[in-house]
């Protein structure tokens, strides 16, 4: 703001002295920023850069300690394959976390939909395409239940999804009678269920279709979050729901669509998980919710909402993938991986808090 006209206007008696005062009050501090402050501003404006740096560093570290075995296209593409499911579920979690919510039921929706896709095909003899469609629709319905309870009934997301997590999981077990559909049966009778498990080779690297599904999904969501009104509204709601509402954002509708979309994405993850495991089993995906939250947090997203980038989530998932794969190749106890991931989570949140001070 300029202060140039202050003196020419009449103003209040006590404000007359303002004519002699400094005229730069509302402009920015022009003082030279220290390198540390510059770093903080940079990180503030590009939230995915921290996890990217950590990812590159961890790749370098394992390249050094594991050696050339690690840095082959095959090994690296294997990491991508292992990350694919977490990456897809993490995309769903990203949407929810951006609205300052949390979804503990993502893994349960994934398992439930994969079981429905399998059972509908094998128990009722439904065409595979229709069974998959039913699974996807069920995923959306599960998401809608979450969204409705959170946005309309106004219950806290943590509690709602803690409840639906149990409900969806129990439904899965009751419905499937804890039965597994064997991989060979699927392969001969309904290969479409294993679609995302198919592989292609590019120069020694092997990619499953699931990897492409994850990358395309994240690219599309990145576009939607950054370049559409809906995406901006998701951020605004996570930032300050009251302000968003007063600014004309239909908050209830946006929150419900976020959870529905998350449910849809979890159904996609359910389908992709059949490709990854070969079989349909109610036992899979036990930790998908925790793994997706881990990816989101290490990816530099704020659990308080409104901050972070979906690319950060991808980097976060890859960091976890690199560590678990690298540690296994190095041949240490797998617990070291969990220990390091635990440290990374706490560090990521600490860095997030530090970056936020840029606003103060």
């Amino acid at each position: 703001m300029t202060e140039t006209n202050t003196t020419s206007q009449t103003g209040q008696e006590f404000e007359r002295v303002l004519s002699q005062s400094a005229t730069t009050v509302a402009s920015f501090d022009q003082h030279e920023r220290s390198p540390l402050e510059k770093l903080r501003h940079f990180l503030h404006s590009s939230p995915a850069s921290v996890p990217l740096i950590v990812l590159v560093l961890s790749l370098l570290i394992f390249a050094v300690i594991v050696g050339s075995r690690f840095f082959t296209p095959f090994a690296l593409s294997l990491i991508l394959q292992q990350v694919a499911i977490v990456g897809i579920v993490g995309a769903a979690q990203t949407l929810v976390v951006l609205t300052a919510g949390i979804d503990l039921s993502v893994g349960a929706i994934m398992v439930l939909t994969s079981v429905v896709m399998g059972q509908f095909t094998f128990r009722y003899g439904m065409p595979v395409e229709l069974a998959i469609l039913c699974g996807v629709a069920l995923g959306a319905l599960c998401g809608f239940i979450n969204g409705f309870l959170i946005a309309t009934v106004k219950l806290p997301p943590f509690i709602v999804t803690l409840g639906t997590w149990q409900i969806f999981l129990a439904t899965t077990y009751i419905y499937s009678a804890n039965e597994t559909i064997r991989a060979q049966d699927i392969e001969t009778n309904a290969p479409l269920l294993q679609f995302f498990g198919q592989k292609i080779n590019i120069g020694g690297a092997t990619f499953t279709y699931g990897v492409f599904a994850m990358l395309i999904l994240i690219a599309v969501l990145w576009y939607v979050l950054n370049h559409t009104a809906w995406g901006r509204h998701v951020y605004a709601i996570g930032d300050d729901p009251e302000a968003a509402k007063l600014s004309g954002v239909r908050t209830k509708r946006v929150v419900i669509t976020v959870y529905v979309l998350a449910g849809l994405i979890c159904a996609l993850a359910g389908w992709a998980s059949i490709g990854r495991n070969g079989s349909v089993s109610p036992q899979i995906g036990q930790f998908a919710n925790i793994e997706s939250i881990t990816a989101v947090v290490i990816g530099g997203m704020s659990l308080f909402g409104g901050r972070g980038s979906i690319l950060g989530m991808l980097f976060g998932a890859l960091i976890v993938g690199v560590f678990s794969f690298g540690m296994r190749m190095y041949g240490t106890d797998v617990q070291w991986t969990y220990l390091i991931i635990g440290v990374l989570i706490i560090l990521a949140v600490a860095i997030d808090q530090w970056i936020r001070k840029v606003a103060g």
């Binding site: 703001m1 009104a229 968003a244």
Partner: protein
Amino acid sequence: MQSEPLLTARGLVKRYGRVTALDYADFDLYKGEVLAVIGDNGAGKSSLIKAISGAIHPDDGEIKLDGKPIHFRSPMEARDAGIETVYQNLALSPALSIADNMFLGREIRKPGIMGKWFRMLDRKAMEKRARDKLTELGLMTIQNIGQAVETLSGGQRQGVAVARAAAFGSKVVIMDEPTAALGVKESRRVLELIQDVKKRGLPIVLISHNMPHVFEVADRIHIHRLGKRLCVINPKEYTMSDAVAFMTGAKSPPAELVA
């Protein structure tokens, strides 16, 4: 006074349980004026303003804009009718950019296929209009329209909120305590902004506790007491102590002014 009032309210009633916030309150706003609304805490100023801006629905009474009765069910409907409100807490999203904030809830999409099918936002157009509006109001020392609102000072944030209201308000701009959280110089700037907005023909409803500010910018002062309009005074004919006396009930207003 002048011709017909632009915005009128008659007999507004709003009860919250056993508390009556509005007790058959009236309200008139004329074209091109700054109307200040003052009143003690709990007098019902906020309820009155919320009723006009669509944030609450009065239990009874009638509001007319341009002579036509209106029934807002949400602040969005009031906005669509041309009534913009600058809320005391500003209603800005701190992590979003200035341009994103100004267009929140009414984004511009790209023309052609990109906008229609891919719903792509037209960032350039929004940034240009935001920059034009801020320049018009003399706020353009904000260097970068893409910077997050949380990196702005309190006065600058107020400026962004006022610019947003001025950019989209076609009939009325309501400002709720715009100077309450600001320092002396930033308050001065906001008062200048109010004059700028008024010069461009938009009437302003100003809610404030700051008597010097009210007496400086207001053309008329609506004094609210015990849930209804007590009187409307001309700031040139009465002193601040008169206003405070009417407002608190220490003195009764002259009979010809009582509404």
